[in-house]
Structures are given as structure tokens and as C-alpha cells.
Subunit: 335 residues, 2 copies
Amino acid sequence: MTDRARRLILAERPTAMVDESTVRMEEGDVPEPGEGEALARVRYLSIDPTIRTWMDDAPGYLPPIGIGEVVRGGGVAEVLTSNCKLYEPGDLLFGLTGWQDYVIADGGQRAMQKLPPGVSPTAALGVLGLNGTTAYFGLLDVGALKEGDVVVVSGAAGATGSAAGQIAKIKGAAKVVGIAGGPEKCAWIVDELGFDAAIDYKSEDVSARLRELCPDGIDLYFDNVGGEILNACLANLAMRGRIVLCGAIASYNDRERSFGPTNYPALIIRRGRMEGFIVLDYFDRLAGAQAELAGWLGEGRLKSTEHIVDGLEHAPEALNLLFTGGNTGKVLVRV
Amino acid sequence: MTDRARRLILAERPTAMVDESTVRMEEGDVPEPGEGEALARVRYLSIDPTIRTWMDDAPGYLPPIGIGEVVRGGGVAEVLTSNCKLYEPGDLLFGLTGWQDYVIADGGQRAMQKLPPGVSPTAALGVLGLNGTTAYFGLLDVGALKEGDVVVVSGAAGATGSAAGQIAKIKGAAKVVGIAGGPEKCAWIVDELGFDAAIDYKSEDVSARLRELCPDGIDLYFDNVGGEILNACLANLAMRGRIVLCGAIASYNDRERSFGPTNYPALIIRRGRMEGFIVLDYFDRLAGAQAELAGWLGEGRLKSTEHIVDGLEHAPEALNLLFTGGNTGKVLVRV
């Protein structure tokens, strides 16, 4: 433990990937918990594409991170000292820790939650956390997955995509095709996770391969990336196909040259639907989803992997991995 | 009546608006009805944007019109002679007559239907026909219109748009804003049809006006046009806003420079939905919708107007009116 407290603050708004001029390290004293508060040491940070969107001065589902503020992000922290009856020293908490060494937990509305028994910090941030539940509600609620559906998932080797593909198989999809970058990721999702097929968008013609693998069209496309892959899926949509918009990482670092899916009229011809969602809306049903996910995890039917980056100072590079495709599975920073 | 039978055939596929080189008049003998068939004289043609899409060699909800074939289109025809027990001379039939003087009705699967009693030919092709029912199912089924919704309709002075706006008011929308081109159309939809407000896309900043008129966002956008107006509505979507994709006339004559709505990620942030449909899917419920529409029409709560073009030979120009905005209300050709 350091005696000084480090925090990564948003110094200026990035126009592309984050770097030292946009996210800067500051040091200060370790904060003192007041009455009703606890001091916790951040152990892991959850690195998610959405963090990049919060850095833009654009309307979103949460306000932008202010200039000079600690970068917002989820994580797991361990309670050191507590003046709050909710928390005891040694408790592991998860919630919006921010990119810093220490966080004050106050039991308020945006309280840090205690980790449920038997759940590891990394699972809490990934497959049983926002990634797993995002995949779960996106597929089952928004996408209304039915048995026998042909499902396509992009960002398929990422934390959310890998969970989405496996959940689709568990819930009876006839075929699950994953789109990922590079032969290793493609092999992993097929050989380890049980996807039926993979498309390497870096070396293959995505639209042609989709036509080949899904000759009757795509019933459900779980979209993590947007861009030309979304366009290719629109072109191959089945009658009454559903597109679940989870994210659009293809454009997060390129606000200037924004992308619009030119094939959107396929939604008319095929009577299709394209719908967005944010998992936070399912807050009151998270526990049920987590219980089901934990069951599959215990049975070995749902697998996950982590890409761990060591050191708070490397959080910006860890974030960039999501956009360069440098990760397989959940990206975490061990602080 | 001419002794010769004229027919407009698709001579080559248009790349922009239709003209003499793409749609050509041919003359031949008046067809002879065979056993079980009737000969009918076409009286009115329904001029609809979708006809333009059938001229492209692109996948659609119906096969493209073949080169050398009569242009496909709806219309009303009067039976002259009949060898079919379903039809008698003098009967008015509606269905896919095609762009020609005479049509053979055979009572088969794509039969011409008799006009219901009390329904005029022009109403059967417009407000009680595909336009009215498209507006009805698009708003109520696909768009799931709720009382108190803020509704925006584009192509609002057209046959479908004008019906959509009025039906939204009848069904309890809190506010209905129409987008149309030019001051006359804007005045007509507000003063005659009871829209709450109009935006003239030819002279106003659509997005700025939408922000002003719908400060809490758009709950339901009925899209007839696509293009930048769709993009402006995406930017002004309310939480859980729905976009009903009915048509995309902004792009029907410009396949090369196709448009993609760059603001589609608003669907994620606002948890919105964009869904396409074709009214033909509601075939088994058309009669109920027509009855309700006819009731409103009788009560004076639903109004329509027609833009009639005289002469089969002017059907191509009539079609082009839909894309130049030269019409108010339903475009019909009186053959």
C-alpha cells in the first residue's frame, strides 16, 4: 500500500484513444472517512467500452465525466477502516470505485455493494457482473431469443460477447456465429466456448461469410461494435430479425467520421427491429439473472476468461485494448 | 374507350426518377377474357412510392418488376364483360391492376376484390386502402401508440402521413407534429387536419424545431422519408421512443449515395426502438381497420384529399410527384 493516494483524472476530452494528455495521474493524501463512511482500497478496476463514452461531452445515459474529475468506472475495493455500520474492515465491495487507489464508501444511494458469498472479485466485475447480465437481458429480453434462432454476436471474444454467445446456446439457439478479430480469438470462441462458427473480421468478408453460414438469415444479432459489421448483419437479416444494440465501439474513438448503417431499410423489407438498451434499467432483476448465470458457471456451461493488466497507471492502456482488440475476455486492472 | 389497349412497361431500370427511357408506352389489342375470367377497364391508378422500389433489381418484399413487364401498381377497374361468376359487368374492383387500360380479373389468389358498398374508388385506394391501413397498423401495432405520446410524422401531407397524424390525434396523442415541404402543406395539415404543429423541412432547421416543439423528446416517430429527417428525429428521441419505419422516399431515387442514420446510437442511450413493417402482413386484420377508418371518415374526424392526374400516359410523372413533393394527399391517375 502506498501512503499517497493516486487518482487518474480526466485532464482534457480525448478525440481518439486516451493518452497521457487526456488522462493524467494525480497524487494526494489518503482520504479520511467521515462519520457514516468507510475507507476502502481499490483492488480491481473493470475496464469497459462505456467508460470511453463518458469522456465525451455528449449526452449519454450518465452525465459526462467532468474535466479534473476522477475517471468514472466500476471496480472492487476492500474496506480498510469503517465508520459505517454497513461495512466492516476486510469486506469486499463492488460499485463505481473510479480509477484511483482509495474510495470512500458512504452507504448512500450509489452505495458500494458487498460481494455475494462465493463470488470472486473478477467474476463480480465480469461474467456475473455487468457483462454477463448485459448479455443476459440483451438476448432474452430485448432480443426475445427463441429456441431455434440463428444468432450472431460481434465482439464475440470480449467479456459481453463471449457471454452472449454461450447464453444463446444454453437457451436453445439453433446456431451461434461469433465475429471476432484474429484466428486465436476465433478458435477460442469455437473450441472453448462452443460457438458453432466464427468469422474473423480482420481477414474475411463478413457479409459473404454471413450469407454462407446463415443462408436463411439472422434471427438475432447482438451488436457490440456497430460500423460495417452492423451493416453486414442488416444485409443478412431474416424476416422479423431483431438487432440488439449493446454498443458501438467501432465509433467511440472517432466522433468526427460517424457511421450510419446504410442498410437500415432492410428493417422495412424484412420487418425487422433494432433496439437499444442499458443494463442499468434491469436493476431490479439483476439478482435473478446473476443467480442463473452463477448456476451455469458452476455447471461449467458458461466460461469466462480475464485479461489482467497490472497497475493503476496502466488503466488508460487497458481501456485502449478494447478498441484495438488486444484482449480476449474481460479486461481488468489489478490496482 | 379506345379500341387499342395501352400499357406502360418497364423498359429499363431507372437510376433516378422514371422517364420515357425507363417507362415506355406500348399498344396492343384489347385482351380477350377466357373461361372464368373477366375483362375490366382500369379507371384509377394508385400512385405509391413503393412502385419505385419495385423497379430496382434489389431484394424487396415483392420481386422486382421484370424488364418488359407492365408496371405493377394498385388501381380500381370496372368490369366490362365477365366469364367469371364472381364478377358482373359494372362491378368496381380494386387490386393490382398495373399501369394499363385493361386488366383481366380471374378470381385467383391475387384476385381483384369488389369495392365495398358506399366506398368511393378514390377512398378505396387511399384513406380506406393501403395508405389508411398502413398508417393505422404502423402507429397502433408497430409503434404501440399510447395516450399522451408526442408523435412526429414525416411526409405529413402525403396520403399515409396525413392519415397517420390524424389517427394519432384520434387515439389520444398529446401532441402531433407533422413535417412537410412548403407553407401550403404545413398550413393544410394544421388548419384542416388538426395537427398541433408543422415543420417546413424546406425552410426550417428540422432538428432545432423538433427540440423546440418536443422539449421532452419524441415518443413515436412515423417515418415515411428516411434521410436527414430520420437522423433529426433520432437526435430528439425520448426515452423508450419508437421509430416506425414505413418508407424511405429520400433514397428511392438515389441508390448510389445511400444514406445511413449516423445518430442511430441514440437508440442505445435512450433505449429506443426502430422497426420496419409492411401492411400486407396485416392482411387478416385489414377489414377491421377499414371499418374503424370508415367510421372516423363518416364522423368527419378523418379527412383526406386527392391529387388527381389525368391520363395513363402521365403515370410516370405522377410517380415522380411523390419524390419532388409536388402533391398534397393521395396521388391518383384517372386512366
